[in-house]
């Protein structure tokens, strides 16, 4: 039996050089209708994802961060058409995933897989682990005996034992269930895995186990990850590039270190400044910008820049004109009319604008 799981050979991907994106997301929109009344008439729409452009490159981890409700999961699910996008395209190589037939979509899911946040809800409680992991293989025509053998290998690979295949999801801890979800996503040797908050439900000591496992399998299987999370520390640790979302739109994309060290979007700077660090000395020396107000509802997003009602440096233009996502150099993209460039900080800008008083700064 040649059931060993060989790493995917990225050179075999026809026509793609190293710098060609594997996945190209263009103008992606997802609106959920809001219905009301006896006739369930549509009275509005939740604008969950509003014109997202993003690329995912081979072997990279693209982090997607943002606060709850900003559209991260909807974006991830739209890529696999677990929710149907309203408009836009998702190019996988030369093929538009959004235009694929049902049958073709099933084939595409060999290459595009997803791991969900909640390891409890995402595994069928009535199936033994062996079937949960083996099912996608059997659907895709792998023989039962081969599938069984591969399940054993996958379980071993994610740090469990082959005999765990006979057990049911409830017999496992949260971290172990997440390992099972990862094993299942690997079963068809995909090229891309969308990880939607894969460690958010886990305690920190277990989080680190799963993050390290993901790191290892990415290298072994030459995987591209889209790593969706709200925890900025976790995203910094795992990602090569990071996209920041706010209310359905991409606020900023950059290489990880650029994004964390010289963020250009006022939202990115405020978000990073709000993250508590587990280091009392750094906490004491930090100036924290505290954004006012709550995130507005995506059912009724603000005109112009969606961040403008909370943006401490907004100007008139921000209320009316929607900023485009533009390149400010070396793949660093930002959608802001007045980005913070060359190391300018939000605090400096506030000072220059005479607006220090308008915002709460905790030091």
């Amino acid at each position: 039996m040649t059931a060993t799981i060989t790493p995917f050979d990225s050179g075999a991907l026809a026509g793609t050089g190293a710098d060609e994106p594997l996945l190209r997301i263009r103008d992606l929109v997802k609106e959920f209708p809001i219905r009301a009344g006896v006739f369930r008439r549509q009275v509005g729409a939740v604008q969950a994802v509003s014109g997202v452009n993003l690329d995912l490159y081979p072997n990279e981890t693209l982090g997607v961060v943002g606060e709850s409700g900003c559209g991260k999961s909807t974006l991830g699910r739209s890529l696999l058409r677990l929710v149907e996008p309203t408009s836009g395209s998702v190019m996988f190589g030369n093929e538009d995933v959004t235009a694929a037939s049902k049958g073709r979509l099933r084939e595409l899911r060999r290459d595009l897989q997803m791991v969900f946040q909640d390891p409890y809800a995402s595994l069928n409680p009535r199936l033994p682990i062996r079937d949960i992991i083996g099912e996608p293989m059997v659907i895709h025509g792998v023989s039962k005996s081969e599938a069984r053998e591969r399940v054993g290998e996958l379980l071993t690979r994610v740090g469990l034992l082959p005999e765990h295949g006979n057990r049911y999801p409830h017999e496992f801890s949260g971290g172990q269930r997440q390992r099972i979800g990862i094993a299942r996503s690997l079963a068809l040797r995909p090229k891309v895995i969308i990880l939607d908050e894969p460690v958010s439900a886990l305690d920190v000591s277990i989080q680190a186990q799963v993050l390290n496992l993901l790191d290892e399998i990415q290298a072994e299987y030459n995987l591209s990850f889209m790593f969706i999370a709200h925890d900025l520390s976790v995203v910094r640790h795992t990602s090569d590039r990071v996209a920041v979302m706010y209310l359905g739109r991409i606020a900023e994309v950059a290489d990880k270190d650029v994004l964390y060290e010289s963020p250009a979007h006022p939202y990115t700077q405020s978000l990073l400044s709000a993250v508590p660090v587990a280091d009392p000395r750094r906490e004491r020396s930090r100036k924290r910008i505290i954004l006012q107000g709550d995130v507005p509802s995506p059912a009724n997003p603000p005109a112009g820049c969606r961040f403008h009602p909370r943006c401490p440096v907004a100007q008139d233009k921000c209320m009316t004109d929607t900023p485009e996502l533009v390149d400010i150099g070396a793949g660093h993209q930002v959608s802001c009319h007045f980005p913070l460039l060359s190391g300018e900080t939000l605090l400096q800008r506030l000072g220059d604008m005479g607006r220090e008083a308008a915002i709460s700064v905790k030091s």
Partner: protein, 331 residues
């Protein structure tokens, strides 16, 4: 340290279940001093909430509680229900992760604060209590407090509801606030707002706070002292600097080693192997022993006792004397 506001001595909390006794808090002893912030940190299921609920006598019926809890010298575990009720919400107030557990959905937020005020001092007129509740909402940063006071909890966003609960909690100027994961359900920008409100309120009223959280970042930025819980026990207690920079406990060290850093100062994460133990059937000796890289034979036979390792600093580990390491990201 006789000036403690709250003294907890050998507190044990067990739940009688069909499967046996779940020992959720074991031999817990600590003090809270006036005006200080004591953080209780630990992973889920370590016994943080159970400890707080037991000392407030808010635990469910099947609970076995032993030990001694004193608030300003008064014996909380043995006082009458009536006296305990007077202490709750008056001297000690609680803030929960989910504000809806503390709020009544059918009364306006203002009316609930009025009720809280008047239950403890019926001589306050409704009018005055309403004025005070509007002031309190203003203090915690609820915009347009006059109008918002007449609204119902469901009309508030998550962050606003948490502010309203803080307003309710401080209505009677408590000396101690127990905040159990007050910002865990909130986004990071809103968390920063709520923590700021908590600190302002605390500065204004001079109350002490017991801040229960699983977030070491929040601890580092908010607390004076910390106690680290694992599998129902206090593993280490100290000032934030002692815990973050001079920890003498393998669990604390391992926990700090396992978290990523937003400033990118950590290149490798060191997970703690395995899982926390069952509290129904805890391992013999030190509960952390099966996951501990320092464990030796003695760890499986003896429950480590509290070792004083410095002023205000205590650790429960058989090898405390040998551990002189400092861990975490130093700067």
């Amino acid at each position: 340290m006789s000036d403690a506001l709250l003294t907890v001595d050998h507190l044990n909390v067990g739940f009688a279940t069909k499967a046996g006794v779940v020992q959720a808090a074991t031999d817990i002893s600590f003090e809270i001093h006036p005006g200080e912030v004591l953080a209780v940190v630990g992973e889920s299921g370590s016994g943080k909430s159970v400890t707080a609920l037991a000392l407030m006598r808010l635990h469910p019926g099947n609970t076995i509680v032993t030990g001694d809890v004193r608030f300003e010298g008064r014996d909380l575990l043995n006082m009458s229900d009536r006296d305990m009720r007077a202490i709750r919400g008056n001297d000690i107030a609680m803030i929960f992760q989910d504000p809806m557990t503390a709020m009544n959905p059918v009364f306006s937020v203002g009316d609930q604060i009025v009720e809280t005020i008047r239950v403890h001092d019926s001589s306050v007129s409704k009018q005055d209590a309403w004025t005070k509740s509007v002031d309190l909402l203003k203090l915690v940063g609820v915009p347009e407090p006059k109008q918002r006071a007449s609204q119902y909890p469901h009309e508030y966003s998550g962050g606003m509801r948490q502010r309203a609960m803080i307003a309710m909690a401080i209505a009677n100027d408590p000396k101690l606030l127990i905040a159990d994961e007050p910002t865990t359900a909130l986004d990071v920008t809103v968390q920063a707002q709520v923590m700021e409100v908590l600190h302002e309120v605390q500065a204004e009223t001079g109350s002490a706070m017991m801040l229960i959280t699983h977030d070491l970042g929040l601890v580092a930025g908010s607390a004076d002292r910390v106690q680290v819980m694992y599998a129902s026990r206090l593993m280490e207690t100290g000032t934030i600097d002692q815990i973050f920079y001079e920890s003498r406990n393998p669990y604390t060290m391992a926990l700090l080693d396992s978290i990523p850093d937003v400033d990118g100062l950590k290149h490798e994460l060191h997970p703690i192997p395995g899982n926390p133990p069952s509290l129904l059937n805890p391992p013999s000796g030190c509960a952390f022993r099966p996951r501990c890289s320092f464990a030796t034979d003695v760890c499986s036979t003896e429950v480590p006792s509290r070792v004083k390792v410095g002023d205000q600093h205590e650790s429960r580990c058989a090898r405390t004397d040998e551990l002189q390491t400092s861990v975490g990201v130093s700067s």
